[in-house]
Point group: D2
Chain length 382, copies 4
């Protein structure tokens, strides 16, 4: 009988990091794809990722609105609670054999809790990686609830063994985000900016441009405004076109968005264009074509590492995460940020790294899900 594999997608980054596995499960003769789209993946403010998912040919089995608007620490907690309640309902209806949760978001944790209390085998990607923000704690907590692990790197797999996860449960598949980049025509389409709307001046994708993505750090809640200020100043000083993506839904997001909106309202003639979203493939093309990625998105380490694109990583959000040679780390300081960007522009392209995978993760994940036999009762291996 076909095994039902239920993926829960909750935001922009999530989707790109699991899309190839969705496809591989959909294509697998012994697996049935179930797909729940939830949280900010449904919201216009955060780029309505659901539309991209549908355009890619997937049909959600269910959608769950679970985002309590406000972006404070307590709304994050409450959105987690609400997501558990709603996911439990859908899991009862869908009766999945496996639930797959991605990374370290509050919805990833909600997914893990609902599945594990309901005796559904839980699989997790990105386990064993280290970062800052509450994501760090959440990622490891999800690992402790998971029955199957698909870590991206060797070191991450090693970390999971140290946690006491069993050898039989850990599969170092690499990250599905890399799969998308392999074999993709990475040339930036002429009309890429026009297709995604957004606000700001028209950009020419064939002139050098920066990409900026800066999310709040929940454990530094309240500092978001001054942190984004430094980045804005640095970008402003560099006189270079920039593609800026709005921050995700974490606590503190509103502080960042407000500052960006004020900036935009006051400097309408700037070189910065703000976007809500790109398709997974277009984001890859955009990255590949950019002069430097700036901010604290993990794509500076994952996708940009694979592509050899220079990245300037700001602050603590990615602290501890493995990276290739393409990354310069800087604090929240406009001068340091601007200097690092300048250095990266001078350096140009880095060599490609396979640190986060060789582009076969999705297929490996599907194959494992189709055959693996794992007990519902977890045990430490110590």
């Amino acid at each position: 009988m076909s095994r039902r594999c239920c993926f829960v997608i909750n935001n922009r980054a999530n989707y790109g990091r699991i899309k190839s596995a969705l496809q591989a499960v959909a294509d697998h003769p012994d697996l049935t794809l179930q797909l729940i789209v939830t949280s900010s993946a449904l919201l216009y403010r955060f780029g309505n990722v659901k539309e991209l998912i549908v355009q890619d040919g997937f049909s959600p089995s269910a959608v769950i609105y679970s985002t309590l608007e406000g972006e404070t620490p307590s709304t994050m907690a409450k959105s987690t609670g609400l997501a558990i309640i709603e996911l439990a309902t859908q899991f009862e209806i869908l009766q999945p054999d496996f639930v797959i949760t991605v990374a370290d978001r509050f919805e990833s944790l909600a997914t893990a809790i609902a599945a594990s209390y309901m005796n559904i085998r839980l699989a997790h990607t990105q386990g064993g990686e280290s970062t800052g923000s509450i994501d760090e704690s959440v990622r490891h907590a999800v690992s402790k609830l998971s029955h199957l692990h698909f870590p991206a790197t060797d070191r991450a797999a090693e970390t999971l063994f140290r946690f006491g996860e069993s050898r039989e449960s850990v599969f170092r598949t690499g990250c599905p985000s890399i799969d998308v980049l392999r074999g993709l025509d990475l040339s930036v389409p002429e009309d890429i900016f026009r297709r995604y709307g957004g606000v700001g001046p028209e950009l020419n994708p064939h002139l050098p441009y920066l990409v900026v993505v800066q999310h709040p750090v929940t454990t530094e809640y309240g500092l978001g405004r001054e942190q984004i200020e430094e980045t804005l100043k640095a970008i402003d000083a560099l006189s270079m076109p920039a593609v800026w993506l709005w921050p995700n839904v974490d606590a503190g997001s509103d502080d960042i968005s407000k500052r960006l909106r004020e900036y935009r309202e006051r400097s309408p003639s700037t070189r910065i264009h703000f976007f809500r979203n790109f398709s997974v493939e277009d984001y890859a093309r955009l990255l590949n074509g950019c002069a430097c990625l700036v901010g604290n998105s993990s794509s500076g380490l994952r996708e940009a590492g694979f592509l050899g694109v220079p990245a300037v990583n700001i602050g603590s959000r990615q602290q501890g995460r493995e990276r290739a040679g393409n990354v310069i780390d800087v604090p929240h300081d406009s001068v340091a940020i601007a200097n690092a960007i300048t250095r990266q522009l001078e350096h140009g392209q880095f060599s490609k790294s396979l640190l986060y995978g060789d582009g076969t993760a999705g297929r490996q994940i599907a194959d494992i899900l189709s055959t693996v036999d794992i007990p519902i009762q977890k045990r430490l291996t110590y």
Copy 2:
């Protein structure tokens, strides 16, 4: 300024396992006790532990009804979600400096999530222990969200180090449940049974009796009825008075309760008396006075180990947990259970064990909370 320490108590076992720490915090000049009573600790069916707490002189800062009735896997998940929503509200009001969560219940996890997303330092007792049931996964997930650990045993502390928790965050204090036993007059009061009502024949505390506590195992959901059947048969066969405590609120509890109620309704003349609850101290006396503890409660390993009381531990719920010499493990098999009880009755009292602590845990915990300085951003030590 006095540090606000907020404890969340959610059931009968929880309270006994943390009571001495509550007292020590209340008594500490540099600490302010905050107390949230929630979940089954508020419910008549589960012994209304709140009443005991108030009788002990504590005043709850808040009470939270969070138990979605039904005792199924999905109601457990949903109760967890609801508890997060409600705890976040109370943490916003109470503004604690530390939240202390006990053990491995779904409310323990809800507490951990609400506190950690809200950037409140989280302390955890019983981390690093191993068991069966979903408690196993939940306990470790809570550890990964916690900033401070108060493990009960040396091995548990060692497990937390292996998890990558920092040396500065782990304090092997022993279990506060042992504190209650130290220096307590353990003689069983004449009227102990009369005071707690319950149903069944009157018992004489001075004749040999058994204590039975058997909870559902969530990862074996659906088997509760046949599991309790075996225990019932064994107890029935032994012709000895028994004090039987109703099971906790986990998924599957209803199956067990129903079977016990049917038994009671059909065999009203039996030697078994069913109770909802005892005060922490009276439960200690009851244990100390009994001929053998039967079931799958951790008190067979913790309190009974310290007291040297023989225990027969049934099934997988305590599998992997450290124990002294007082425990015989048996499967869900009436003959095996009855034989093991018989062996324990023949053996009688064991020597006392300090495995789970020397009776000073509460005081140690208060002292640490009053001085410890721990960053809100967690990092693995690897």
Copy 3:
């Protein structure tokens, strides 16, 4: 195309009051029955009505656990909130053309809110009746949210017109609860008591017995214990066998249940037998066979009125509700209660009343649902 009619059943009384309409919709060629079973209808403590529903041949489209245990005023409010959240999810999945909500419970209101905010036509039974308790306000609030009304009596229909409900929306069908009684073999089966378990002495259905059903009155919260005390005293004094049904899930239920349990634990040899539930038909037989119905259930006015069974109605819960000649109203006073029962025993059977319907309500409701055309935007007729 077949119209999807979604009924929401949330407790024992609900089911009996709508069962014939469920059947008529299931049997109708132009209608598709959808059935959501929720709240106390799922709970063992309240008689697990879902089992009866399934035994009657209906298959629930969904079950929703929505009862926050505790039975306080605030848990009632919160259970209402939770039920709205869960019902909205199910309505999105089921896409009903009509939602049918019964009477005046907090789940009836939750159903009404979820349906009306979701632009689903809402039909309501028992609108326009008057009572005490919060049910009074809730019933009328539900009427103001409803697009279709199926009142039981002429006066109730008149009340709805006064409310400004349109002539086209109000259909005086009678109460479906009466349908069950028509043509039913009302002889009490020999084994009726044995089949339903319960606690207390064995009763002989062929000797005179009382039936007692007393629910809490939410607007008199806190008085439940003394109120039930008076009833207990009266029944005790009468030396007659009694079938006692546990109270429903309203705020204050626990006070009543606790007192009944204490009574039972202390007077095990009494003539009272406590039951959780009966099938709709067996409850009708039980009523028909009893010497007098005592308490504050509306079945004293509805079913007992139709059957001509004497009823003693205690307190304010049914105040204002239409009744036939079979009812004596008394306050919460043991002497008054006992005297009224004695008078009713002396009087014996009353003549049958068609006040609450002629037994065709279910069929009428189905016919109307199959053809009615009613706008989604409500307007007052004034």
Copy 4:
């Protein structure tokens, strides 16, 4: 003892419609003001009304984030459910003697349900008025749950009597929104537009301008985009500066906002400036100074009626509501809208109307709350 009066404010319109009563209660020697700010009143997207409230000198007793982002029919229902859960918690903490709920929003209903299930006396403003949208049903449902009514007009009071509300419970005080206008210096400040940010060209408050406010109609969900299109076309055709306020949080809001954002992104040089919010007083000044109010806000009927400002009311949202001579009603048709505006511009100022009150409502409400004695058990007066 001082009576605790708890107001629940949930959006921009709400606050202006109750502010004078807040002030009067705060100033009353026998009353204590409690204030809960919730829902969109906390959100940046909807103008962060909480900031205005605080600037006005009120301190919220509690804030409740209850808006499930998405603005669909089901998120409205779920936000209602969530608000009930959270309000019940706060009512338990605040222990109000009266809860005051405003108008007909989903949060107004949530407030009504939480209060009435918790046996707290509920007072309601704007009861008895007629409109379209789900607001119509909700307003009347709230009236049926309320113990005290403060209707704005004589006809509204009459409607409440017809509903069966008792003479003792209905006080025709007028609408507090009128109080703000009385004695206010209505001259538009020079810097009014600069102070509120927003996007669009700078406007000169001393040249003729329109004010546009158009909310979704939930019972016409899905038509929002084409409806706003007609209004946009009409305004576009008129070549006149316009102050446009974003729509409220109802289902369908996102459709309207998206269309407005697209319009703005494509026609950056237009004469329209978009605002999130104004203080209650500045909104009054803005209205008073404008050439015509366009859209479907009730302020076209209430405040504009009192001020004699011409209004063009579009569609069904205000259908059935009492209005003075200042309003022309038109369907969603750009030509009809443009023609009506032109007619109103030609007409200019209307005479002032006292239909919605004489400016003393707030004081009256406070006085009544300080002395009224009303039973918790409601009864119909028929």
